[in-house]
Amino acid sequence: MALSGRKASVAVGGAVVLLVFAYLIWGGIGNNLVYFLTPSELWARGPAAYGASIRLGGVVEASSIRWDADKHELRFRLVDAAGTTRPVEVVSTGLPPQMFTEGIGAVVEGVWSPDGVFHSHNLMVKHSNEYRAPPPGSKPAEYYRQLFRNQRS
């Protein structure tokens, strides 16, 4: 049975809507993917990774942290957990979490630019999902205990 004119137009209209929708979704996902990489994987991708949204996870290299209090700008270098790769230079704005220190696992979200600097808009300190007590003398605890001591004096 041949489709009546009305049914055919509905079918064609529906197909067009579906195709447009599929195209929008495809583009939407493709443009907004965030890749999870380590510094060595980033170097392996090379220039292909410039401009893409990347979540880079590694370890903060020893004595690489520079804090510019005027600009509220933080610079440091990330290396692989093994510490053997070429470090990636990271710049981020805003104060880092208080846990942030040398040798700690950190995750930065942002974009790698051709000048070799990773511009982060979100800096997270990595700790396992399990909640457990911070080791004695660790930074946050020390911080507020000092505040207590100052209050008393």
């Binding site: 996902i29 965030v34 805003g94 104060l95 909640y131 007590a133 946050p140 507020y144 100052n150």
Partner: protein, 678 residues
């Protein structure tokens, strides 16, 4: 003792649920009332037993009985009583126990409700036992989880002396006492309409009475789910310290997807009720809603996706996958088997009709759900197919959901304004005149006032347009009544809305959604954010606010220590009060958890976060966020709840009519429209 009691109660409940389900199906098949009676008793007993298990767990938590594994996992002697009580749902096993409790409570409600519905004049109604059997099967699954892979009642010997306390994030705000129970009551409640749908399919009878019934049983969980989602957004806003309320986190998506399909269902079911159309689609929607709740629980409770809410890796993943596959395949088979009873009786008469508006609405909701589902699942697909670790960024969700949401805002007013079957252009012109003028006026005023963001501008204009159309729906019949009966305006309005609570309650819900849309658009577009490091006595400016940092000090509390910063605020040069953002140090948390200080207002929220401070207390780093109209989102949520309640509340007249003509109601016989009775 507690461990033994709790575990025994869940095991017996599991056996009874299984036996009850079997009895219900046999009773449905054979029409033997004795089996059905057994199934009903089993349903009530399951509820009593799960409630016992729940209370045993609460007692163990409050009494710090660390020989119970779950108490040792989330309890602590230093946690305040309130947080100890709500810590029942702060980890995997306990949250499944809460789930099972709510599910069994719904089961008992279904038993209670169906007391006089099984034996009808036309003989036993097999839909009732089939629905009860299906719901008991869902019970079996969750009871299986808490008796075996997610058993919270393991006996620890020797018992530890103390525990770590609940996850620090979850004991940082009293809202954790409200958000999960609300959300679960909505989420779990979707298994009732699912069971009723499966029951009707098994019985092979999908009549108009079914439609009405399943709609009511969906409205209740829908209302709770809406409130639960908003309460979660509020929690995120008040606790997480980023000044936002929605991040397209997998768990937020998991709660949102069934909301979308349930909302689509609530609309398509009206088309089915009125015109006998879209039956297959409607039943597919309610089955999908239930499937999405199971999928959402799987995604967020099995640890396959990283999220704020994901608990640690757990062995329940495979159980959920098997359950999901079972439900999916059996529902599909059932739908295929019964497809002939689901054929459409009516057909579309005209493009300009309410049916069309509902159709478009349903397509939009389905597309919305698909967009969210794909974005949530894509990381899993990508990892399985290409081995790449990726996540889908928030912009994907925003880019695709904003246009859909805008069209829905438009339809929220247009749909109610269009008549069933066929609308005439004249009628449309008459109804649309004032709302169009109002929307154009608002558009001009907003443009002149400096609203330059096109999407926000469009949202406001469309919301004014739709709100105008809704107002017309209230005003026109009120005026007619006022003129014919001479009643006062308020009385006439009340009589009009009470004559059709379902419809006008629905319109109130729509206006609540419009208020939320305006709040979301304004707060997302016109948000300002600043971060400063200030010395004592120094001040900084954000928008019209001047924020002065006064001092910072530390406090000791039983379960945590806190650092509090004091600030003095001026707005446009006038004193605006003081705000005290704080950081909390929990013994179990690696990082301090902030409590932002929020000054809420319908016009604008001022949101202050203490980011850091120096050890001498002389300096503090503060983040300030000024976002307009966030309060509208919570206000809109309240309006939605009021409207839903109004729609659900059975008017006295209706209750009396039901009582006098129960059979007609039960069989879905013709009812005289209430207007015609006057």
């Amino acid at each position: 003792m507690n461990a033994f009691l709790g575990h025994t109660a869940t095991l017996v409940a599991l056996l009874l649920a299984g036996g009850g389900a079997a009895a219900a199906f046999i009773g449905g098949r054979t029409g033997d009332a004795r089996y059905v009676a057994w199934a009903r008793r089993a349903g009530v007993a399951v509820f009593a037993l799960v409630l016992t298990a729940f209370l045993v767990m609460e007692r163990a938590l409050v009494a710090h009985d660390f020989s119970v594994s779950y108490v040792a996992q989330v309890g602590s002697r230093t946690t305040p009583l309130f947080y100890t009580i709500i810590s029942l749902w702060s980890a995997l096993e306990g949250s499944i126990l809460l789930w099972a409790l709510i599910l069994s409570a719904y089961t008992a409600l279904l038993v209670r409700w169906s007391t006089h519905r099984y034996q009808t004049e036309a003989g036993p109604d097999s839909q009732v036992p089939y629905a009860l059997g299906t719901l008991l099967c869902v019970n079996v699954f969750f009871l299986l989880l808490i008796s075996w892979p997610a058993n919270p009642f393991h006996l620890l010997n020797p018992a530890p002396l103390d525990g770590p306390g609940p996850n620090a994030l979850l004991q940082n705000s009293p809202f954790m006492g409200v958000h999960p129970p609300l959300l679960y009551t909505g989420y779990v409640g979707m298994s009732v309409p699912f069971s009723l749908a499966i029951g009707a399919l098994l019985a092979g009878r999908i009549g108009p009475d079914w439609t009405k019934l399943i709609r009511r049983w969906t409205m209740v969980p829908w209302t709770f789910l809406s409130l639960g989602i908003l309460a979660g957004a509020w929690w995120s806003y008040e606790v997480l310290g980023w000044g936002g309320y929605w991040a397209w986190d997998p768990v937020e998506n998991a709660s949102f997807m069934p909301w979308l399909t349930a909302t689509a269902f609530l609309h398509s079911v009206m088309v089915q009720e009125r015109r006998g159309m879209l039956k297959m689609w409607t039943i597919t929607l309610i089955v999908s809603t239930f499937l999405l709740t199971v999928l959402g629980t799987f995604l967020t409770r099995s640890g396959v996706l990283a999220s704020v809410h994901a608990f640690t890796q757990s062995p329940i993943g495979p159980f959920f996958l098997v359950f999901l596959a079972l439900v999916l395949l059996s529902s599909l088979a059932l739908l295929a088997w019964r497809s002939e009873t689901l054929e459409s009786e009516g057909r579309f008469d005209a493009a300009l009709s309410r049916e069309t508006a509902f159709m478009v609405n349903n397509l939009l909701f389905a597309a919305f759900a698909f967009v969210v589902l794909l974005g949530t699942m894509f990381p899993l697909i990508a990892e399985a197919v290409r081995g790449a670790k990726v996540s889908v960024g928030g912009p994907y969700f925003n880019e695709l959901s904003v246009p859909i949401a805008l069209l829905l805002v438009f339809l929220a007013g247009v749909g109610p304004a269009l008549p069933w079957r066929k609308g005439s252009l004249e009628l449309v012109r008459g109804k649309f005149r004032w709302p169009t003028i109002a929307a154009l006026g608002a558009g001009i005023v907003l443009a002149v006032a400096g609203v330059r963001a096109p999407l926000a501008w469009l949202t406001f204009v469309l919301a004014v347009f739709s709100a105008g159309l809704l107002v017309v729906e209230f005003v026109t019949p009120t005026r007619a009544r006022h003129e014919t009966t001479g009643e006062g305006w308020v009385l006439a309005l009340w009589r009009v809305v009470s004559s059709n609570r379902r419809r006008y309650g629905g319109y109130v819900v729509h206006s609540g959604i419009l208020v939320i849309a305006v709040g979301v658009a304004a707060s997302a577009t016109f948000r300002q954010e600043e971060e400063w490091t200030l010395r004592r006595g120094a001040a900084a400016q954000i928008g019209r606010y001047r924020i002065q940092f006064d001092s910072v000090w530390a406090v000791k509390e039983s379960q945590r220590d806190g650092v509090i910063a004091a600030t003095t605020i001026e707005a446009s040069g006038q004193p605006f009060g003081r705000l005290f953002p704080r950081l909390n140090y929990y013994p179990t948390a690696m990082e301090p958890i902030g409590t932002p200080a929020v000054r809420e207002g319908l016009r604008e929220d001022l949101y202050l976060v203490l980011m850091a401070y120096t050890q001498d207390g002389q300096q503090a780093t503060l983040k300030a966020i000024a976002s307009p109209m966030v309060g509208w989102i919570w206000l809109g949520g309240g309006i939605v709840a009021l409207g839903a309640l109004f729609a659900l509340w059975r008017s006295r007249g209706e209750a009396a009519r039901r009582a006098s003509r129960p059979d007609a109601e039960r069989r879905g016989g013709a009812r005289v429209p209430s207007e015609a009775l006057r």
